[in-house]
Assembly symmetry: C2
C-alpha cells in the first residue's frame, strides 16, 4: 500500500486540486452515485436535506476535527480521517441511546488541496456512515488555510427517553463497552516515529465505536451514558458531575498488546487505559439488579458523595485525567 | 461604539484567551443562562441534543464560514459574524419551506483567541437564532490556525412537502422576497476602505433573510425555491438546472441607495443586484394563476428549453454570474 503522500501526489496529477474543479465540481464528485438509506427523504443537492425522525424527535450533535490537532495526513490516509470524523459523532449519538440517522459535513480546506484527498475524506465519511447504517445527506465546502472537518450527526431515539449524563444513581454499576487506551497507545507509537504494531496504530487512525451498544444499553435500562472521547476518567467525570455522585472504578486489566507496546516504549499502559481518548467506547451506569447487556463489562460503582472519579478508592495521580484541547 | 479591536483588547484583559479558560470553560461561558425554546427537548451539555421534529421529519443543512474568506474581524464585530453565520443557514431551512427549529455550531479557532471574541460570536449566533425563534442546542470547539464557524440548522416542514429546486414548471412566475445586491454593495464599500453608508455596510455585515417568507411561499403553492446566497443569477441557475427550464428575469429596479453607492464607487449597481450573494433573499417559482404572498415580487417567468437563466431574453454578460469559493 502506498503511503498517503505517494497516493495523493499520484492522484492529484490526474484529478487536480479543489481550485481547479471548484466547489460545485467537488460536490458533484463526492455525491454522485451514492445510495442513501430509506430514512434519507431528500439527500444532497438542495438547500437542505430532509431526514426521517420517526418518533417526532431528532438527536443532533457536532464535532470538529482539525488537521495536525486531531489527525495528521502523514499518519493517516484521508479515508481514515473521514472515518474517524464520522465515528466521533456517530458515537455521540449512540451515547444518548439513539440510532444514527444521518451525517452532514462542513469542510474547510486550502484551495490547493488535491481533489484526491477530498475524495478520500468523503470515501471515509461514507464508509463509516455505512457501518452505522446512515448516509451523508448534506455538506458545505469553504476555502481556509487549514483543513478542518465539522461533522454533524443526527439520530433517532426510537421512542425511548435519551440516556443523559445526569441519571446515574447511588449503587449503580459502572460499565464499559468497547476498547479504551488503544488509540492513545497508537498515538504514542506514531509520535515516536514508528508505524507498528498495526493493531494499535490502526486503532488510533480509525476508532471502532460499538454503535449498537448505545441503544442496547438504553433498552436494558442504563441510567446514564457517555462516549469515551476525552479519556475514561475525564468522561466518567462528566457523569459524576451531572449525576452528583462519586464513581469508583477498578484499574482495568491491561490487554497483552498494550502491555507489549507500553514495555517497548517505556510507557505505562494503565495511563492509556484511564486517560486515553478517541477510542469512543461507551461508558454507562446500570441499576445493580439488572444483567448487563452482551459486550458490557462492569468496571466500578456509583455512590453518594461530592462528585469525583476514583480509581480503587483514590484520586488518580498518574497525570491529567483527559484531554482539553486548549489548556493542555 | 468602540471598534472591534478596541472592544476586544479591552475585554481580553479581563476575560483572557481560550487557552486560559479552556474548552470546557468556554462552553460554560457561552451556554449558561440561555433560554431554549419549547422545541429544544434537551439542550447543550450532553453528548447530543434532542430537538422536536413534530411531523416525523427534520430538515438539516450546514454552512461553513472562514475568517478572511467570508468575514473579516476588522470589518465586522464577532457578534455580526455570529449573526451572519446563523443567517446563512437559517435561510437555507426557510428556502425548503420549513420553519427553523435549532442551530448547532462547530467552531475552530486559534488558542490565543480572546474569550471576548468567542463570547461575541456566541452572542451573535444566539441573537440571529432568536430572530428565527430557535436556540443553539449544541456545539464543539477545537484549536486551529484559522477561525472557522460551521453552523448546522435544523427545521420543520410542519407537514408540508419540501419545496426543492426541481419543481418549477413552464409558465411559472419567478418571484423574489428580500433584498439583493445590498451585501455586495457593502462589500464594495468596505473593500475601498470606507465604512459608510451604514445601510449597505450593515447589510454586508448582517443579512436579514425573510425567514417567514419561506413557509409562507410553501403554503401559497411555490413550486421551487432557493435562497440567494451566491447571487440571483447563479442561484436561479440551480432552479433552472434542477427543473430543466429557462428562467427569464427582468433587470431589477435599482434602489436609490445602491444607485448612489454605485455612482460614488464608479460601479454598476445592476451587477450587484444580479450577481451579489449573501443577502439571503428567497427566490421562488409560483404557478401563474395564484396571487403572490405579501412581500413577494414577480421578477420573471419560466419556460421550456435548455436550462439557463436569461436577463430580458439574453444571457448576462456583465461578469461571472455568482460566487464559487475556489474557482473565482
Amino acid at each position: 500500500m502506498p503511503t498517503f503522500a505517494e497516493a495523493s501526489d499520484d492522484r492529484s496529477e490526474t484529478r487536480g486540486t479543489l481550485a481547479e474543479v471548484g466547489e460545485f465540481g467537488l460536490i458533484t464528485r463526492v455525491t454522485h452515485d451514492r445510495v442513501q438509506p430509506a430514512g434519507t427523504l431528500l439527500g444532497p443537492g438542495d438547500d437542505a436535506a430532509v431526514v426521517a425522525a420517526p418518533d417526532g424527535r431528532v438527536v443532533a450533535c457536532v464535532d470538529v476535527l482539525v488537521d495536525t490537532v486531531h489527525f495528521r495526513l502523514d499518519w493517516s490516509t484521508p479515508e481514515q480521517v473521514g472515518r474517524k470524523a464520522a465515528a466521533a459523532n456517530l458515537a455521540d449519538v449512540a451515547a444518548m441511546g439513539a440510532v444514527p440517522t444521518a451525517l452532514l459535513v462542513g469542510l474547510a480546506c486550502p484551495a490547493d488541496t488535491p481533489v484526491a484527498t477530498l475524495e478520500g475524506l468523503a470515501e471515509g465519511l461514507w464508509a463509516e456512515a455505512g457501518v452505522a447504517g446512515v448516509g451523508v445527506v448534506g455538506g458545505d465546502v469553504a476555502s481556509a488555510a487549514t483543513l478542518m472537518v465539522s461533522v454533524t450527526a443526527l439520530g433517532s431515539l426510537e421512542g425511548r427517553q435519551p440516556v443523559t449524563r445526569g441519571g446515574a444513581r447511588p449503587g449503580d454499576v459502572v460499565a464499559l463497552c468497547g476498547r479504551i487506551g488503544w488509540s492513545a497507545a497508537g498515538l504514542a507509537v506514531l509520535s515516536r516515529g514508528f508505524r507498528s504494531p498495526v493493531t494499535v496504530v490502526g486503532a488510533h487512525r480509525v476508532p471502532e465505536p460499538p454503535y449498537a451498544a448505545g441503544p442496547q444499553a438504553a433498552k436494558a435500562g442504563a441510567t446514564a451514558m457517555i462516549d469515551v472521547s476525552d479519556g475514561l476518567l475525564a468522561d466518567l467525570g462528566h457523569i459524576a458531575d451531572a449525576s452528583g455522585l462519586v464513581l469508583d472504578v477498578r484499574v482495568p486489566e491491561v490487554p497483552d498488546r498494550l502491555a507489549e507496546v507500553g514495555a517497548a516504549l517505556g510507557a505505562d499502559p494503565v495511563h492509556w487505559l484511564l486517560t486515553g481518548g478517541e477510542d469512543h467506547a461507551l461508558a454507562a451506569t446500570f441499576p445493580p439488579d439488572i444483567a448487563l447487556p452482551d459486550g458490557w463489562t462492569a468496571i466500578g460503582s456509583a455512590r453518594a458523595g461530592e462528585p469525583e472519579v476514583l480509581v480503587e478508592g483514590r484520586p488518580y495521580t498518574g497525570g491529567p485525567a483527559g484531554w482539553d484541547h486548549f489548556t493542555r
